[in-house]
Symmetry: C2
Subunit: 107 residues, 2 copies
């Protein structure tokens, strides 16, 4: 079972759910941006400055979290997200590499 | 430019478009099923027996075709689809392997 914050374990992650999470341009951009950070870097959700309301931002991060792409932790009055690189590389080898390669071609 | 039937060249394929094409359960199932066929195998669109109307089936195959996942050819009064394995393996190494691995865990 996912933990109390809705984070699935690597075994619980589903490829269709991960692909669905990545199919939205804003969510894809969040993952791509996190790949540009040092491994383990924490970013507040607000720092992504998505062009949508706060509640829609929260929705997008919930989809990312429940698919297993990001881990969210409470940091006082905001939440921070980290990319679950090691878990994702273990469960879906090569997936993040494809997004990182795509990121480089757009840079 | 994509060819006259809307097939992009490998260089024209976009990872977000491919992920979006795979984010629908029926389209994901089509790709997964094609991965279970011998390489180069042709399947008519009707043979997938998707639980949707013919026009919706046509729509789903258009999304798959325009993303570069399948190649469609006219076969008399129906259209057949093949998975563009070599092109996809070249452009997005490892992506089809993830879907094939997911297919094996569900078998």
């Amino acid at each position: 079972m996912p933990d109390e914050d809705g984070h699935p374990s690597p075994e619980e992650m589903s490829l269709p759910a991960v692909l669905n999470a990545l199919s939205d341009p804003l969510r894809y951009a969040v993952v791509s941006e996190l790949l540009g950070e040092p491994a383990g870097a924490e970013r507040t959700c607000a720092s992504f400055d998505l062009p949508v309301s706060k509640s829609t931002t929260t929705h997008h991060f919930r989809i990312l979290r429940e698919a297993g792409l990001v881990r969210q932790v409470d940091r006082g009055n905001s939440r921070a997200a980290t990319l679950r690189r090691a878990d994702l590389d273990l469960r879906f080898p090569g997936l993040l590499d494809l997004i990182a390669a795509d990121r480089r071609t757009r840079a």
